[in-house]
């Protein structure tokens, strides 16, 4: 599973407005990644900040190259 399970958590967030609300207003990337990891842990996931950082870079690449 890419990014150590983060992709599965991403789908959970996309399906859950309350989770989205906890993340939408965080503009500082470090603070955002920390919160994503915390929320992931609370949902039983073990991905790390490095995994989320990799996912962020992949998203940026897909936008730039798309």
């Amino acid at each position: 599973m890419p990014y150590n399970g983060f992709e599965e958590f991403r789908e959970i967030v996309l399906d859950d407005e309350s989770l989205q609300k906890q993340l939408r207003d965080l503009m500082d990337m470090d603070e955002f990644i920390t919160r994503v990891v915390e929320l992931g842990r609370s949902h039983g996931f073990s991905f790390t900040a490095y995994d989320v950082g990799d996912a962020v870079r992949a998203s940026q690449r897909s936008w730039v190259e798309g």
């Binding site: 996309l14 989205q20 939408r24 990337m29 955002f32 990644i33 940026q60 936008w63």
Partner: protein
């Protein structure tokens, strides 16, 4: 999938397998205020959430989502031949929080490019896409304008079929000034082969043998021909660059059936003082310098391929003013 797309916008439409797919990002209430859609999206993607939590869906989700939220139907369309004040007009309109302005959005161009055959499919898809882009995300929004890419002037027929009641303008300029601008910094559409069939009847092999000036002039000619073909439509209005910025505050608004107060007009007028594509810079008129710097090759190409069409556009425009 039945996830709400309220305040999500489609930022990319792309071929995926046998169909099309859509890439969405969360935009919240962030307005499109940058000169081009792609720049506005880049601004939105500065939000970590919007960057990381994007949705990729089938094209069917676009249709399903089209009726989900309050949306504003299109108020007016802007077509143009490039380098002729279209960004100025769109930026003047975008100065008002009451206007949603989408400028040269790649998703729209993708739909027009990838759904070439069946007119009913194009119509349905365009309507769903425009519907979603016209979501009312800000409380003050009440109008919706779309500025198309210059080569979408060749799709006027299909766009009018999908939106038969939307007023539109075609912006144009003295061809030599556009060619000089394009030779200084070429737009992607002026590179041979980048936009398929941009010059009707000319295949890539022939295009590759043309000089840059000829290719540019013949591309501009194809835009003007398409505009002329539809210029008698009741929804059509021709606007010359030399009428700007005043026309954007008067006849264009009137054509779009928009009435604004003095404060709104003042805000639009303020935008016109700055370079539309680089708003940090003050606007400097450049028609004279472009005319003076034109090469013989550019003048010859303009004279042979575009000037006669420009004269026709002018003749029609001036006839209407009587």
């Amino acid at each position: 999938m039945n996830k709400s797309i309220r305040n999500w916008i489609p930022i990319r439409v792309y071929p995926n397998g046998s169909g099309l797919a859509v890439d969405w990002c969360y935009a919240g209430e962030t307005r499109f205020t940058q000169p081009f859609f792609r720049d506005s999206v880049q601004q939105i993607l500065r939000s970590p959430f919007s960057l990381l939590f994007r949705r990729q869906t089938s094209i069917e989700v676009l249709h399903e989502s089209a009726s989900e939220n309050e949306t504003i139907p299109p108020t007016g369309f802007i077509f143009h031949m490039s380098r002729c004040g279209s960004t100025l007009v769109s930026q003047m309109l975008a100065a008002l929080p009451s206007n949603i302005v989408i400028s040269e959005a790649p998703p729209i161009d993708s739909v027009l490019k990838h759904v070439a055959g069946d007119l009913s499919v194009t119509t349905s898809l365009l309507r769903s896409l425009v519907n979603v882009l016209g979501q009312k995300r800000g409380k003050d929004e009440e109008r919706f304008f779309i500025k198309f890419d210059s080569w979408n002037t060749l799709d006027l027929e299909r766009i009018q079929t999908a939106f038969p009641d939307v007023p539109w303008i075609f912006l144009y300029r003295e061809p030599i000034e556009v060619i000089v601008s394009q030779m200084q910094k070429r737009g992607s559409q002026m590179i041979q082969g980048s936009v398929e069939r941009i010059i009707p009847g000319v295949h890539l092999q022939e295009a590759l043998t043309m000089s840059a000036e000829e290719y540019c002039a013949r591309t501009l000619a194809s835009f003007c021909e398409s505009a002329l073909e539809h210029a008698n439509d009741v929804n059509a209005m021709l606007v010359n660059y030399n009428e700007l910025p005043e026309a954007a505050l008067t006849s264009v608004l009137g054509h779009f059936r928009v009435s604004l107060d003095e404060d709104e007009l003042r805000r639009m007028r303020t935008v016109a003082q700055f370079n539309a594509k680089t708003p940090q810079l003050v606007f400097e008129p450049d028609s004279e310098s472009k005319q003076a710097s034109a090469t013989d090759a550019a003048r010859d190409a303009a004279a042979r391929w575009v000037d006669p069409l420009y004269e026709k556009l002018e003749s029609m425009r001036l006839e209407r003013k009587k």
